[in-house]
């Protein structure tokens, strides 16, 4: 199976400048040596605490920011070094939807304008643009009456569906969804998730779905990647990673995320201690060790690499084989 997206050793270090001459005083290692692949038609869920680098990975995939190292390939073509003309062609194959639906459209332009721009700028035939927009609106269950409104005149769910429609107008192969439902109410979230799944089936889309809500990620993903302080901690099939996690960090996340029924109260909980440390001054060895309940000397000294523990299931933990078995969570 040929992956649609291949990310290898991706790295983004932001410079922090300070002082009179704005010299580089330190680096924020937002994304550090991250590798994964997404197969065509698959959804990869990307989970992690705030500041773990999820959005930075998303921006790197679309080259909205330039990587400081590593490579991103889409259908075998390198994205990080593509020349402008090739980049424009590559961009048509990728779309993105952001968390804040209200801020995702030009506040001074009507919806119609926002939906026309991607088609116009990519040289679509003018005569057919309006038909394409109407067809796409229907796909996200919206009527043409919204076209003459301004973004602030729509509800959050409508705004987010317009964002999805806009991202799909260019018929991309990959859609990056950066917390697409975090700002929405439960019932509206359900609408948007259903539409995303329907569209994936209809167009054979590939998703990178970023979220911090494990229940949502479990529901939409085929595989899940767990990120902590710029590094991948665990990646594998959704059932394996979320129901029987092998990394203490994933176990901690799963234990912290609220239950789906009051019957699950009093379940065994591996709670992670304290706060995550700063990205500027990272711990030695395993980045999790100051918060990890199972840490040993080796964790403070050697950085663990991702190891394949079961077919397709990788985790970066020295102790993965020797951890107490976590209680599987019933759903």
């Amino acid at each position: 199976m040929n992956p649609l997206v291949e990310v290898s050793h991706l790295e983004k270090h932001f410079e922090i400048r300070s002082g009179l001459w704005r010299t580089v005083s330190s680096h924020v290692r937002a994304v550090d040596d991250v590798s994964f692949a997404i197969a065509a038609g698959e959804t990869l869920g990307l989970v992690g605490e705030s500041g773990s680098g999820k959005s930075t990975v998303a921006r790197l995939l679309l080259r909205l920011i330039t990587a400081t190292g590593g490579s991103v390939r889409l259908e075998g073509r390198e994205v990080t070094t593509a020349r402008p003309a090739e980049m424009k062609a590559l961009r048509r194959k990728m779309g993105i939807v952001f968390q804040d639906p209200a801020a995702s459209m030009n506040p001074r332009a009507k919806i119609k304008w926002s939906l026309r721009r991607p088609l116009v700028t990519n040289g679509f035939e003018h005569a057919r643009i309006d038909d394409q927009i109407l067809a796409m609106l229907a796909k996200v269950n919206l009527g043409p009456e919204l076209l003459n409104r301004y973004p602030h005149q729509l509800s959050g769910g409508q705004q987010q569906r317009i964002s999805v429609a806009r991202a799909l107008l260019l018929r991309p192969r990959l859609l990056v969804l950066d917390e697409p439902t975090s700002a929405l109410d439960i019932s509206v979230q359900a609408q948007v998730l259903n539409i995303l799944l329907d569209l994936q089936e209809a167009f054979g889309l590939t998703y990178l779905f970023i979220s911090h809500d494990l229940n949502v990620v479990r529901y939409v993903s085929d595989r899940v990647a767990i990120m902590y302080l710029g590094k991948l901690m665990e990646i594998g099939p959704v059932e394996a990673v979320l129901q029987a996690p092998r990394h203490p960090y994933t176990q901690g996340l799963a234990a912290s995320s609220p239950p789906m029924s009051p019957h699950q109260r009093g379940r065994q909980r591996v709670l992670l201690a304290e706060q995550p440390p700063s990205l500027i001054d990272l711990p030695t060895g395993c980045r999790l060790h100051p918060r990890c309940p199972f840490r040993q000397t080796i964790c403070e000294e050697t950085r663990p690499e991702l190891r394949e523990l079961a077919p397709g299931h990788w985790a970066a933990c020295h102790l993965a084989e020797n951890l107490p078995a976590p209680q599987p969570r019933d759903t």
Binding site: T43, E49, S50, S155, G156, D185, I186, S187, V188, Q189, A190, Q191, L193, N194, L197, D198, H212, L214, N215, V216, R218, Y219, V220, S221, D222, V238, E239, G252, L253, A255, S256, S257, P258, P259, M260, S261, P262, H263, Q264, R265, R269, L271, L272, E274, Q275, T331
Partner: protein
Amino acid sequence: MDQTRRALCVQHLDIQFSTPHGMARAVQEVSFDIHAGEIYALVGESGCGKTSAAHAVMGLINRINAPGHRIGGRVLFEDKDLLSLTEEEMCHVRGRSLGMIFQNPLDALNPLYRAGYQVYEAIVLDKIGKIEAWRRVAELFNQVKLSDPEARMRSYPQELSGGMRQRVMIGMMLARNPRLLIADEPTTALDVTIQAQVLELILALRAALEMSVWLITHDFGIVAEIADRVAVMYAGVLVEEADVLGIFDNPRHPYTRMLMASLPRGFKRDGRLRTIAGLLPDPTLEIPGCRFRDRCPAKIEVCATQAPALVEITPGHRVACHVAATVKGDLPP
């Protein structure tokens, strides 16, 4: 219900805001009791009136932040009707037995003073000695499980992480030994890992101090985790109230049932989620009958004319729906 075991009693609370399009009814005829020592959750989607209800109880809706508002009903707390108190009397209640924590603790803390001093100020109101007060601050910082409490007391709010700030806020409230703590989305701005710690803390303190907690949230996961009883609100009205198992295992109101079914619980292969068609009703319109009618798959004729009252269908389980008793099994799509 035993009169002496009620921490808060809200009766026919009605809140209207003045808007350019007329008076908007944010909360309508809402009545409920919070028992002593329980965690009572008020859940509902954005804009349904949760915060307005809490602010009315705290006396935080005034001429300055909501000109032209109207508040009706009674809020009984410690044998007083909070809605009839003067601002001065209300301040006294707020300073002692009624505490509130907010979604964004940074808004509630003063960036110019150290965290420890702000808690100290809250205690010194009680006219205890200075040294005694500082000792109590250190105790409180320990009690809310702030790591390295000495250092945290000397930090400014913006130097603390979201979870730590929320702990400081909780500590500040505990300083007054409140009988009721109102927590409005206390963990919405926090990561799940930190949220779990804050919820754990609220649970521990509730047990240690025997206070009641009125928890406002839109997250059913948090409700499942710590609530004892739950009220569900829709467009300004209470539609259902039961103990937490009643709400999760046997929801009766069509809105609650659809909301539960719209939560993602399984995998993609388990099928699509339930959605609720339509939009919230316009709060400035006077709506005859049930407010959920337009979106309800089980509606009958009477729903259009008569607003359903919140009635007890089984002990402790109240529902405001004409068809709740008749429609069993799955709702029509």
